[in-house]
């Protein structure tokens, strides 16, 4: 099993006629994702690599029954694209776009609450259920199916973590990049809640970074609700305060949002925090040892 995406995912790609859109749509398709439609305003009626393109999400939904959308459009148009998908009745939107104005995201979040649509991202690599369905820009081959769920605020750091997990024979149930912006559609806790209902997920990896307090809140939620092993990692111990470290959300403001505070909160809540990224795989192999014996996926 998995969370948010599975064999029933019928993917629509917004921005499919762009260079990035076409490339990543193709990568998802090759991974096995069922891509049913693309949307680019004004390009309705054409096809991209065999996928029909529509002018509006409403058209695409009516014609193809898409239920998930991957948004690969530039920042000025991304918020509108997300709202279009939500308004049309898409249940899950995954937005990769980096650099969406914060005010746009605040409005999008309220808009989505009115429609009941879930957004993953923006500024994220997407979501993948290894061996089944990939909705994002992450490299497919580093993933292997298995019992560990991965949630992360980062892109390539997630790939690194997953790569090391797979290297140790630790497969993943679903890997989600929630995004590096200060305001994202789906929080750590939203993911945790979903994983808690997935019986196949029997261990978790949480990859956080400086800025905000999402990791602290997630840690407390884990303490109160989960009894499966959780490994944590926090990037940014050496980040100077007051500077945005690449991600719009990665900033230590005054005394809040430091890596140390997050690591301490995680430890206090029983999370196994790995401090050496170079040793991440072996560290997880130790924590998840029982898990691997049980499932035989090691």
């Amino acid at each position: 099993m998995s969370i948010f995406i599975d064999r029933n995912t019928r993917l629509l790609v917004q921005g499919i006629t762009g260079r990035e859109g076409r490339f990543h749509a193709d990568q998802c398709r090759r991974y096995g994702t069922r891509i049913v439609a693309g949307v680019t305003p004004g390009k309705g009626g054409s096809t991209v690599d065999g996928t029909p393109v529509f002018n509006t999400v409403a058209d695409a939904l009516r014609e193809t029954g898409a239920n998930t959308s991957l948004v690969l459009v530039p920042p000025p148009f991304a918020a509108d694209a997300i709202m279009e998908a939500a308004d049309a009745g898409i249940g899950l939107v995954v937005c990769i776009t980096e650099g969406i104005p914060l005010m746009d995201m605040l409005k999008v979040r309220s808009f989505l609450r009115l429609t009941g649509c879930r957004l993953i991202g923006p500024n994220c690599p997407g979501i993948i259920t290894p061996g089944v369905c990939k909705v994002g820009i992450m490299p497919g081959p580093i993933h292997t199916p298995g019992p560990v769920g991965v949630i992360s605020r980062s892109g390539t750091l997630t790939y690194e973590v997953v790569h090391q997990l797979s290297g140790q024979g630790i497969g993943q149930s679903t890997c989600i990049g929630i995004g590096g912006d200060p305001v994202v559609g789906t929080s750590f806790i939203d993911c945790l809640r979903a994983f808690a209902h997935d019986p196949r997920t029997r261990g978790l990896v949480l990859v956080g970074e400086i800025g905000g307090s999402a990791e602290e809140e997630a840690a407390r939620w884990i303490r109160d609700h989960l009894d499966i092993p959780v490994v944590g990692f926090i990037a940014g111990l050496t980040a100077p305060p007051g500077r945005r470290m690449g991600h719009a959300g990665a900033i230590v403001s005054g005394a809040s949002g430091t890596a140390t505070a997050k690591i301490n909160a995680m430890r206090d809540c029983g999370i196994h925090v790995c401090e050496d990224l170079g040793d991440f795989g072996p560290f997880c192999a130790r924590i998840f040892a029982n898990l691997l014996l049980e499932t035989g996926s090691g």
Binding site: G155, T156, E160
Partner: protein, 387 residues
């Protein structure tokens, strides 16, 4: 992107918000002429991108021409050191000369998008003129925070709540509604990450006045705010950071001597942390973007090498979909083009990683290949030990 106080006030005045009469000046003469025109007393305020400038001597009150001349001479050209600028400080090139006003009370007021609640946040306090973080620490009950839904916008009941919390008088309350409505419009229509009025003065003439204004614009929104984009002042910026921005590289200078170049912000932070764990110190943060390519890497090399403190370099590229043979060729060419003459450790991952490593190994350059992150850390530690 931070605005200077005078820019912020010009922006806010366009929304009908009451700011003191004032004029910006970059010389003592111009400052004096402004002061003469405004009439004494005047306030003379350094225009730098740093808080705490009052304590650093960047703000002075002048009751007459002689005091104004003295203040202008003292502030213009000074190097202001505050908690925020750190030791190197920043040079004052401009001052704002403002009409002095008689103040009855000072409030604190700010509006910002709040990451925790995903809403706009309106913050007010009766303790105006003080550092709000100190007030929050000592008297949190004196701070009122009001969550505003970004779709619904500011509602009358929210203004009322703040007005009652600030115990406004009837005469104050009458103009408070318009003040907040206009400030909220200014914040949302200009994508402000922060608009902070501290203090918001209530004057002897029974009116509100925005005595100071701190404004930060969302850089991601500048595509729709051409006017604001033109207000950027990079005079105090690190020149390497400015150079990096030209190439869309995300570079931040740090205090160490191990340069590093990584694709992706999270991995870049984690790589810096690894350098520290290896017993060395990162010289920088440098994110060349998730989909790094040869050109980005060459630009990255140039930026790293332009910093004379850098004694070794670690390149960490997790390509995934990217082809490592292409990447490796890019690294080799970039290293050659930039004439790197310090140790370079390269760790990369992605399609065709074996061919990539071979290309690095076969180059005539002194490139150290690492097979994984643990290996990279050990190799950087070894190099750092010899520096």
């Amino acid at each position: 992107m931070k605005l200077h106080e005078y820019q912020a006030k010009e922006l806010l005045a366009r929304y009908g918000l009451p700011v003191p009469e004032g004029q910006v000046a970059d010389s003592v003469e111009a400052g004096l002429a402004a002061a003469d025109r405004l009439g004494y007393p005047v306030a003379i305020k350094a225009q730098v991108h740093a808080g705490g400038r009052g304590r650093g001597g960047g703000v002075r009150l002048a009751r007459n021409r002689a005091e104004a001349e003295e203040a202008l001479a003292a502030i213009l050209g000074m190097t202001l050191r505050t908690r925020q600028t750190g030791e190197q400080g920043c040079r004052v090139r401009r001052v704002l000369v403002e009409q002095g006003v008689e103040i009855r009370h000072e409030f604190y007021l700010s509006i910002l998008p709040d990451r925790a609640s995903g809403a706009m946040m309106l913050i007010g306090s009766t303790r105006g003129g003080m550092n709000i973080e100190e007030v929050a620490a000592e008297n949190p009950e004196l701070i009122t925070r009001i969550r505003i839904d970004p779709l619904a916008g500011l509602q009358p009941f929210q203004v009322r709540r703040l007005a009652f919390a600030l115990a406004l008088s009837d005469v104050q309350e009458r103009s408070f509604f318009d003040l907040l409505v206009n400030l909220y419009r200014a914040a949302t229509e200009n994508d402000l990450l922060l608009v902070e009025i501290n203090p918001l003065a209530f004057t002897a003439a029974d009116r509100f006045l925005l005595l100071d204004a701190k404004v930060e614009v969302d850089s991601s929104s500048l595509f729709r705010h051409r006017d604001l984009a033109g207000l950027r002042d990079d005079a105090d910026q690190d020149p390497l950071e400015l150079e990096a921005r030209k190439y869309n590289l995300n570079y931040i200078r740090l205090d160490g001597n191990i340069g590093n170049m990584v694709n992706g912000a999270g991995l870049a932070m984690a790589t810096m942390d690894m350098i520290k764990r290896a017993g060395a110190a990162p010289a920088n943060f440098l994110d060349v973007g998730g989909g790094a390519n040869a050109v980005m890497i060459e630009h990255g090399f140039r930026i790293l090498l332009a910093d004379p403190r850098v004694r070794a370099i670690l390149i960490n590229i997790f390509g995934g979909i990217l082809r490592c043979d292409v990447l490796a060729r890019g690294v080799v060419e970039a290293a050659r083009a930039t004439e790197v003459n310090i140790p370079v450790v390269v760790r990369m991952e992605g399609t065709n990683v074996e061919q990539g490593r071979q290309i690095l190994a076969e180059s005539d350059l002194d490139l150290v290949t690492a097979v994984d992150l643990g290996d990279a850390a050990r190799k950087i530690a070894a190099i750092a030990g010899e520096l």
